[in-house]
């Protein structure tokens, strides 16, 4: 909760910060809200580690295609000469690991697993970020409107949230992904699948943030600075987006970093169930789906994409936890 009042807050709150911040007391006076949070965050080694991994992952995802082009890698190139025809398994131990294929090749096709994991990284992150942004934009706007205006507007939006929360999301996602396969939004192929996933995952997750934002807004709208703005003649939209929103950035960021890993898993689950990204496009969930048939005889193939999901989700969760502690120390 980062209402302005807290920057000058009670001595009891400020005291430990000042002590913990170290000897250089002279500079405490000048610190902004962000600086305080950043100082707190830096002290949380686990969160910093999570943050570093997240940055690396994002870089990896952005550079995924250029790196492939640079090294002449193709996630869909077949190497069926590396496959034992009778069993469909890669030749050699450890799932066909070799200098050319450091993480082995996949059964049946002999595609390079390392390249496919790399290719799958941007798919996962694009869907997770896209869906998170979509749900948070809707959630924040709906939440702040409901919280600020209250009354009938609040009850309509709140009931709408209840309706969305009551949706059997997974079933709905499966149904909608299957029916939209033929083409929608003027898209086809991979862009369509990405758009459908972002829409399905994002559109039904907004009430969670919406409720948080609404609650925060209810508290904030009674504050003096809002009264002051109103007294000076500010109208609704100005107060919503200029006065209230900046104070909601904290919880939104925190919630986003915690929502991203959930969305990564959701994307993987949908691809695992065959309604997400379609083959031959590589995606982590899709790789897991293919690996299931062979987990007893070629566990390597399941471990690699499984680990990729695990590390990504863990990193985002650690970062999210750290950010929450930093931005909202009282929530501990």
């Amino acid at each position: 909760m980062t209402a302005p009042i807290e920057t000058t807050g009670a001595a009891a709150d400020a005291q430990p910060e000042a002590v913990l911040a170290g000897a250089d007391k002279g500079r405490i006076e000048g610190r902004s809200l962000g600086q305080i949070a950043w100082a707190r965050f830096k002290r949380d080694k686990v969160a910093v580690a999570g943050g570093v991994i997240v940055i690396l992952l994002i870089l990896l995802a952005i550079l995924s295609r250029p790196v492939q082009a640079l090294f002449g890698l193709d996630p869909n190139a077949f190497h069926q000469d590396l496959i034992v025809p009778d069993t469909s398994l890669p030749k050699g131990s450890w799932g066909g690991m070799s200098m050319d294929h450091p993480l082995g090749v996949d059964p049946k096709f002999g595609r390079d697993i390392a390249t496919r994991v790399l290719e799958g990284s941007w798919v996962s992150l694009v869907v997770a970020f896209g869906a998170t942004i979509l749900s948070n934009v809707i959630g924040a706007i709906m939440g702040v409107i409901a919280g600020y205006y209250g009354g009938r507007v609040d009850s309509i939006i709140s009931r709408l949230m209840d309706v969305f929360l009551a949706f059997p999301l997974l079933l709905f996602a499966i149904a909608i992904s299957a029916t939209l396969q033929g083409g929608a939004f003027g898209l086809n192929g991979l862009p369509l699948h990405l758009a459908v996933l972002i829409f399905v995952i994002g559109f039904f997750n907004w009430p969670y943030l919406g409720r948080i934002v609404r609650g925060q807004t209810l508290a904030l709208r009674e504050r003096e600075f809002v009264d002051a703005a109103r007294g000076m003649g500010a109208k609704g939209p100005y107060i919503l987006f200029r006065e209230l929103m900046p104070n909601l950035v904290g919880p939104i960021i925190v919630y986003s970093t915690l929502l991203i890993p959930t969305n990564i898993i959701f994307e993987a689950s949908l691809s695992f169930l065959g309604v997400g990204i379609q083959p031959p496009q590589a995606s982590w969930g899709g790789m897991l789906r293919e690996a299931v048939t062979y987990y007893q005889v070629d566990p390597q193939y399941m471990i690699v994409p499984g680990l990729a999901i695990f590390i990504t989700v863990l990193a985002f969760n650690l970062l999210g936890d750290g950010l929450r502690d930093a931005l909202d120390p009282r929530s501990r």
């Binding site: 069993t87 469909s88 396969q181 033929g182 086809n188 789906r289 299931v292 048939t293 007893q296």
Partner: protein, 589 residues
């Protein structure tokens, strides 16, 4: 017999089950117990060459296991090859297939009938004489009227019993007018089936049909006493005419069969009645079935589509394991249908480009290698009568020919083609094959995008709806086809006859219509000489390939685990490579 294969649905379920990772490690470590006195395996593919462990010893319990449930145990209400096979234990059809290895199993022999059908009127009338001394399990005699009634209830009462095929309705004279025994209560029944006396039955057809013996080899001709029939509920108290009868039946769980005391071996040259009990366990986890088979707790997998992928790798990696497997044709063709009505594939040169472009070995590897199918080059698989070796689009090693494909593409006036390819989402093999095809086509400039649809609605809503494929620009469709009876007609009629094209539920996915082929099919089925008939089938096959209506990918094969305890084991082509269930026994007490 399309869509009647459950192995894919099974693996989809397994996939969901397997996501719980704790079970992964456990399952990986547990193997079938090594029993000290396990009999020795007879060698790889032994049951495809002859009868393994031939025996007349009585006793023991034969256990069948199945990962799902069959459509129905009612002989008049089933369409699965394994139920055609199994139901013969308690329901004797007029004709059936001789237990024999591979193609020898395709031989028709009289079962309830005393001899093969006698044709008259140029193949439009077929007469069968029943054996004498036939009795039901309750001792009452079996008459030809019961056979007539069985055909009537299974083919003409689609609102009550809808799961089996309805060939009799299509081929019997005035078959379209008769409403079935549940609605039409007249004593006469269907007028085109006559029963002049209790042991004679005469079928009057609306056209010459020389393969009628195949048609009466389905369980639909197994006698059902009208007095005991109550439609769908008949399954609860099936009256046996075969060597076994039901002791108990729990839907979705288990069926137990015991020897039928009123079955007289003198009336039956085929059945031996060896096992003292037959147990069918339903809804068993597919991995468990494989393990039970190896430990001897189960005698055979009822569905007979073969072991799971991981078991396959285990078995083939050891000499002992390999010696207890049978790898045989399953009477099916895996193919990609080309939409002959969709631009630019309405041009035969564009279709030929696809024929040349596809690397069939790559597709074969994606489908599980030579164990799961041989590279195909004809429409008819080798275990179907009428097959003749040919390869119109031969390429070096079956690996496709990019140059020739590009030539054809040029002849078609195209440089690149953008199209879509469909596959059934719950059949991973189909998706894998499509993936390999996409990879091949890309090399010649054909960009295909995969579209997956659920198997249950593949024909009714998606690939089988011409207006849908037209609208969605679907040029290629993954398909698998097995014959309802093992002859060229049974195989080709539903997928290449222009009359089979329908607006929904279409199985002629290519929408192939060639008057010449239609004519040849009609000519073939009216041809009484078997050799000439088979030559016509080969001619049709050649014509279809010249027209490039479909790309044959592999001749489907199954890898069966043969229990060392099982006796009289023989894999038959008549039932998609399954073991013949008629005389399966066990040495295990």
């Amino acid at each position: 017999m399309e869509g009647k294969q459950t192995i894919m649905r099974r693996s989809a379920l397994a996939a969901v089950a397997a996501i719980g990772s704790a079970s992964l490690l456990l399952a990986g470590c547990s193997k079938a117990d090594d029993n000290k006195d396990t009999p020795k395996a007879a060698g790889a593919n032994a049951a495809t060459k002859g009868v393994v462990n031939a025996s007349d010893k009585k006793g023991g319990t034969v256990t069948y296991e199945m990962s799902d449930v069959p459509d129905s145990f009612d002989p008049g209400n089933t369409y699965y090859a394994y139920m055609y096979n199994f139901s013969r234990l308690y329901a004797r059809p007029l004709m059936t297939f001789q237990p024999g290895a591979g193609p020898k199993g395709n031989t028709l022999v009289p079962d309830l009938a005393a001899s093969k059908g006698v044709a008259s009127d140029g193949g439009k009338t077929w007469t069968y004489k029943l054996r004498s001394g036939l009795k039901y399990q309750d001792g009452t005699p079996i008459t030809s009227k019961d056979v007539k009634y069985a055909v009537e209830r299974s083919n003409f009462a689609r609102d009550v019993l809808s799961l089996g095929p309805n060939y009799f309705q299509q081929f019997m004279k005035d078959g379209d007018k008769y409403k079935g025994p549940y609605k039409d209560k007249s004593a006469k029944g269907l007028s085109s089936i006559e029963t002049p006396d209790d042991s004679t039955i005469v079928f009057h057809l609306n056209r010459a049909f020389q393969e009628f013996d195949y048609l009466v080899a389905t369980p639909q001709t197994a006698p059902v006493p009208q007095a005991k029939d109550d439609g769908v509920d008949y399954i609860k108290h099936i009256v046996s005419s075969g060597s076994y009868q039901f002791q108990s039946y729990q839907e979705g769980k288990q069926a137990v069969l015991v020897p039928n005391k009123n079955w007289d071996p003198k009336t039956d040259p085929l059945r031996k009645q060896l096992a003292s009990k037959i147990v069918v366990n339903l809804k068993v986890n597919p991995e468990t079935i494989d393990k039970d088979l190896q430990s001897g707790d189960a005698t055979v997998d009822l569905v007979g589509t073969g072991v799971q992928a991981s078991t396959q790798a285990d078995l083939l990696n050891s000499a002992d394991g390999k010696a207890s497997t049978d790898n045989t044709y399953g009477g099916r063709l895996v193919y990609a249908a080309i939409n002959t009505k969709l631009k630019p594939f309405d041009n035969v040169a564009c279709r030929k480009a696809v024929e040349y472009a596809i690397d069939k070995v790559s597709v074969q590897t994606a489908l599980g290698g030579p164990i799961r199918g041989d590279v195909a080059s004809t429409v008819l698989p080798p275990d179907i009568t009428g097959y003749q070796k040919a390869d119109v689009y031969a390429t070096a090693g079956g690996k496709g020919d990019i140059a020739k494909a590009k030539d054809q593409l040029k002849a078609c006036g195209q440089k690149t083609i953008n199209t879509n390819i469909t596959a059934r989402s719950d059949r991973p093999g189909e998706v894998d094959a499509a993936t390999a095809i996409i990879n091949s086509l890309k090399k010649v400039g054909i960009n295909a995008t995969l579209k997956q649809y659920p198997a249950g609605k593949y024909f009714t809503d998606y690939a089988g709806v011409p207006s849908f494929t037209e609208k969605q620009n679907i040029g290629l469709m993954m398909m698998q086809w097995g014959a309802d009876w093992p002859s060229g007609y049974g195989f080709l009629q539903q997928i290449l006859n222009s009359k089979a094209i329908s607006q929904s539920g279409n199985t002629n996915l290519s929408q192939y219509s060639n008057k010449k082929v239609d004519g040849l099919l009609a000519q073939a089925i009216a041809e009484p000489d078997t050799a000439k008939r088979n030559a016509l089938y080969a001619q049709i096959d050649k014509q279809v390939m010249d027209d490039a209506a479909l790309v044959p990918l592999t001749y489907f094969k199954v890898l069966l685990y043969r229990s060392p305890y099982a006796t009289n084991v023989v894999s038959t082509a008549a039932f998609s490579g399954q073991y013949d269930y008629l005389n399966l026994g066990t040495t295990k007490k």
